[in-house]
Subunit: 337 residues, 2 copies
Amino acid sequence: MKPPTDTRHTLTLRDVSDASGVSEMTVSRVLRNRGDVSPATREKVLEAARTLGYVPNKIAGALASQRVNLVGVVIPSLSNMVFPEVMTGISEVLDGTGLQPVVGVTNYLPDREEAVIYEMLSWRPSGMIVAGLEHTPAARAMLARAGIPIVEIMDIDGDPVDHAVGISHRRAGRQMAEAIIAAGYRRIAFLGTQMPNDFRAKKRLQGFEEALAKAGLALVDREFYSGGSALLKGREMTAAVLSRVPDVDFLYYSNDMIGAGGLLWCEAQGLKVPDRIGLAGFNGVELLDGLPRRLATMDACRLEIGRKAAEIIAGKAGPEKTVELFPTLQPGDTIRS
Amino acid sequence: MKPPTDTRHTLTLRDVSDASGVSEMTVSRVLRNRGDVSPATREKVLEAARTLGYVPNKIAGALASQRVNLVGVVIPSLSNMVFPEVMTGISEVLDGTGLQPVVGVTNYLPDREEAVIYEMLSWRPSGMIVAGLEHTPAARAMLARAGIPIVEIMDIDGDPVDHAVGISHRRAGRQMAEAIIAAGYRRIAFLGTQMPNDFRAKKRLQGFEEALAKAGLALVDREFYSGGSALLKGREMTAAVLSRVPDVDFLYYSNDMIGAGGLLWCEAQGLKVPDRIGLAGFNGVELLDGLPRRLATMDACRLEIGRKAAEIIAGKAGPEKTVELFPTLQPGDTIRS
DNA sequence: CGGGATTCTGTTAGCGCTATCAGTAGCAGA
DNA sequence: TCTGCTACTGATAGCGCTAACAGAATCCCG
């Protein structure tokens, strides 16, 4: 066993093979734990690899074996609490499988999404998990002919490329509206993000308005925002709505953060919640547990979505193409009962 | 120009070359925008690539060119607001450069970090950005001999492998303590995470206690938590401290989320903030803007850290090995002035 | 109008690894 | 002793792409 050659070129299998006196092939086998190698040889090789500080080149390995242990995950944003939790679910399941998630962020921009998908596919991952069902035609086409499992997550109201795991946002909106109406609220306003490409928020609003219409009602006001601290925006928007429509009796927020901001504002104003005014959000974020009063919400099954999607990629799932999850309404303390 | 061959094998340069009647090399040149190609040929090739739906194989390209446009980013967690903002800074700078960040999450586990670093290095990225200065010896060694720029971020109190960009957490803790003492508080408690591997929180506490000691003071109480909703934990811990030490007059939290929880709790209890009791957190998270009263905090320069780190990787920075940033203390409304 | 530059395209030889198959021992059973 | 295994190791041939150079075609200017 020769001493480590300390030249400055990056190490290859060849260096380990030289150092341990066996063929490159045998080193490769040891390092991948594949095929039979005698314990003595194995030890010798590991020792050499360790002292050299050898790190295999997966690029070459992947090219040779036509196998890449990467799973592309394409999501719109990391800064709202929802996707990190999806990631947690994905990691949990992938952890044992040798598969590794690689995250790409699109900022809700379709062109950016297309670019990210292209970039990821060019690394020939073993699977792709993409948020949403709406993509550019080119992106859809690329995914369709990639020849790997594709899972579109979060939403099932639409036509998936391959697999889909998620909830029906339209139905979620409808359910919330029904609960609100059943609780006797009648002058209802909507407060949400001004994001042309947040299709899921849009579908929730659609479902919500459908259910209102069915009950002969319509939104008495709506208010949109974009950017900034969601909590703060929630306060501001709530103030705006209440000054425009003082007798509004329910505020439906497109997400929990602005809802929480609204709730804090109402409390500070001394408005009686949920009697004088009711509130509801969407997502079921953990943050709500810490608020003085629990905001009504609907959990989006984020962890479970991540898990199921990863199971499909890992080949641990059944043959169903679409997995629908059912969010539960958490009435909290902001809808009267 | 032949019609697309619709066999089910994945496309290669060869397919595009066949379809467009030029050599593979020329196709490669067109697709990478490198070298001179006549406009006519270029158009022909692009057309063929487009209709075939060709996606280049970066694995092969990277192996051949010995260049990988990936930057490994290793961070402990995605679920606290701090790292997403660092990511934003990184993406901002990397966006124009052709470099792409790849995120790995360690959950504050050193062994996990070592594994993630190994995995990433095996893809031969162009650079690595790693949170923190504390790593396993093996991880440090791998980074040191990877032959690529390494940037350790967030913290500069220690010995970097290569570059470091961050703030001095020890100093941050000290500064906060000095401000608190100057404001006349004397019975000070600390509330933080029970994470043996959150070295930065630990350093802040050290600095904090040093400054207290210098003023002849010591913490009157300390309370730790792990897991769960930070906001909720903040409430619970605050309640616990106040019941144990009723005359405590300042609460120093290791992060803004638990601080916010504590603040909400104090308000709900009718405790006079900041006269009866003062509060401070750490991080400067956007969320605080939405609270009824602004928590005193210290921003951690997250965006700027991300930007500077990316600039170093992209070769857009000066030669300095360590970049120290200086957080500013934001007294908010929870320290008396 | 010829030498040399310029523009464009093709040929060749790997990048560092793994799949595949071909050995070489060693050993049990006939 | 020979056959037939099993256990182990090595030689060879790519994976799909790009660097580097070589050649062909065109152009420029004195």
